[in-house]
Symmetry: C2
Subunit: 427 residues, 2 copies
């Protein structure tokens, strides 16, 4: 194989015909393959089985709290210590509440809009056209949440070391309607990149640069310990950097155990400065008499002090799947030089960029053969990928065998769409 750009038109035509025949063959297999879902596989969920019998009649938290009764809005001490281990901040900086960090993000964004995070007159609702920066490609639920809350989204390119700092600075420094930035700082969804120390430092400084005095960095550290190798890769500590910069009241950090224990029955955490945490606690307390502390106790007893050890077991299951994805992409697309993709060392996704204008075509070809991929465009606000080239691959849920079949179809689709495009351009 050689680079596509160096191939003769006749060779391209003949290759395209071969790929079409292959796809026809696959069609008759009536496959039902799915690469859409960033869900843990059954084998990963099984890793937490011991957790379910860990209560064993002893419902008392370390501070004597009966976890079965009302109260403890911030969570029991050992759950907050678990959060501290996960988020690398102090337990005192954490509220452990609910089963969903996304719910805490919604609550925080809405609080910032309606009342502000600071107990003063600052609130985003005072700015009718409040905006939020969305590094792209990014996480579709951040976009849906922002859109629902009426926040306009501004794309920022996500590079290998984090979001483009030049673009961010240009966006915030003269426009007081720019109120926040969404960040997935480690193994970002979908590229898998992690923010460099310099990026974290710059983000900690950002509130000083922003024209808005109520600017907030929304730090969704969903994959804090989801490395494929341990000890985990370091991430510069945002809250520490913000304290040094005097901007700690403008940082809100999120994490959960959704991809550590159970993807619906886990714990969620929010961390912030004391003042901001107090505002969040007050808001939670209006609509809650306390979190599910029994589940907090289960988690703390099961994971406390052995978080990385547990995540290493996940890594054993994840690494072969990501290796497989990399191998198929490299083998099938590498020499042709028709696509770029990421090779993450953790997280849940691989990001694949086709040539511009082809992502939707690939998605359609795949759909015809029974392979579901994340809808092209989903990794951008409003579902609009301006270059129509980004595809998100989610290898975790499928078995290795299904993943291999799915990847083989995916690369056929990418090749075929690209060859057709090349032929059309050579016209």
């Amino acid at each position: 194989m050689t680079k596509l750009s160096e191939m003769k038109a006749a060779a391209i035509t003949s290759m395209a015909q071969a790929l079409e025949r292959e796809l026809e063959l696959q069609k008759s297999n009536r496959l039902s393959l799915d690469l859409t879902r960033g869900k843990p596989a059954v084998e990963q969920l099984d890793l937490s089985a011991p957790m379910d019998s860990i209560i064993n009649g002893d419902y008392r938290a370390s501070d004597g709290t009966d976890t079965r009764n009302y109260g403890q809005l911030r969570g029991i001490p050992e759950a907050r210590r678990l959060g501290a281990e996960l988020m690398e901040v102090a337990a005192d900086d954490i509220i452990c509440w609910g089963n969903s960090s996304l719910a805490l993000m919604y609550l925080t964004a809405e609080l910032a809009i309606e009342r502000g995070l600071w107990g003063d007159s600052r609130a985003w609702k005072n700015t009718p056209d409040a905006k939020v920066l969305t590094p792209v490609p990014g996480y579709d639920r951040h976009f849906t949440l922002s859109d629902r809350l009426g926040l306009e989204m501004i794309n920022i390119d996500l590079n290998n070391e984090g979001p483009d700092l030049g673009q961010i600075e240009a966006a915030v420094k003269n426009d007081p309607s720019v109120k926040a930035i969404w960040c997935v700082p480690k193994f970002s969804n979908p590229t898998g990149c992690s923010y460099s120390d310099a990026t974290v430092e710059a983000l900690a400084q950002l509130p000083k640069l922003a024209a808005a005095d109520d600017f907030v960095v929304l730090w969704d550290n969903a994959y804090a310990v989801h490395d494929f190798q341990f000890p985990r890769a370091p991430l510069r500590n945002l809250l520490d950097a913000a304290r040094a910069a005097g901007t700690e009241d403008h940082m809100v950090l999120f994490a959960s155990t959704s991809k550590i224990t159970y993807a619906s029955g886990g714990l969620a955490f929010v961390a912030a400065s004391p003042g901001v945490l107090k505002e969040i606690e007050t808001r939670i307390g209006v609509a809650s008499v306390g979190p599910d502390k029994v589940n907090q106790l289960r988690h703390a007893r099961f994971l406390g002090g052995r978080l990385e050890q547990h995540m290493a077991l996940h890594a054993q299951l994840m690494r072969p799947k990501f290796d497989l994805v990399e191998k198929v992409l490299q083998d099938e697309l590498g020499e042709l030089d028709i696509a770029n993709w990421t090779t993450p060392s953790g997280g849940y996704f691989v990001s694949l960029d086709t040539r511009p204008g082809l992502a939707k075509a690939v998605g359609e070809l795949a759909g015809e053969v029974g392979l579901a991929i994340t809808p092209p465009g989903a990794t951008f606000p409003y579902g609009r990928d301006p270059e129509d080239r980004n595809l998100r691959i989610a290898p975790s849920f499928a078995s290795l065998e299904d993943l291999k079949a799915a990847m083989q179809i995916l690369v056929i689709c990418v090749k075929l769409a690209t060859l057709r495009d090349e032929l059309q351009h050579r016209g």
Copy 2:
């Protein structure tokens, strides 16, 4: 003992002095008694102990769902069936989500404000001074929630058969800014009264009478199966009555297992018409990838089909406490004829009315002796009991022994405050 009104001043003075000596004596005992908390007692929580080992490695819901993974925003089928048993509506009318019906109430009220419940242009935010009817005495968290969301509260007298229908009709029929009514239809907090069939029928008709076209009945059925005798006392079915009246799109019903299993680790339910339920589901889906379905499975397996049987065990623990409260109140206050109180056949509270103007004084006297009672005023919006006479007694959490000691102090405080008041009035 005779009625206070028939006693001579000298006898009153002498009785007051004796009570003061008794209180002084109690003070030296340095008591720490608490009647504030509507919390299940440890023995009640222990009733659910078998639930914690009920998963036993089998995480599949009845429809094959792996409860450990994402999805199923409305909850697993058997959890919704449990909700149906509890709420006496169809499982299809229910979403089972989260651990707190209060959170679902907040979500619903906020949705009604921001976007409406109907997917059209109706929304309470279009009315700048939106108001909500609050039957009093009532549940303080309804008041806090309403206040936080900027809803002005209008008091409606709560009678023995439910809120005063005449007052309600007068409030809603000419004022389109009156948007909702809070209801605790069975064993209401704090009086313990249950709504009569006629009250439920009238409330089902209410949206037709209301000037607001976006009026909502918020039906917090927190004590649906919390009877002291079984089979449970019937409650006219609101959703059925509303369907007959064509008003079902204006009813939202809430319940939870907080006082059935664990007071923080239970399940919460919301029921409504298909259209309203869809709007609520959409809102939930913006900020959630699914509820804790493992806990749903635990609950459904433990309680499904034996809900009343389980609640009968609670009743065995609750009844003696309520009997004790009634006996002390009757023995100590009955003949003097200086107070009124309720004698509920279920729920968590007894409501005690002193003579007007004395509730705060009673609370202060009790506090001095080491007895904490729910702050007088808490059963009214803005903490303001216009007659300063209502006290809420929460007998559930204390042991029988502590409850007896607490009640004996409480009646001394009521008597002493009343005698002093009587003496002052006689001048």
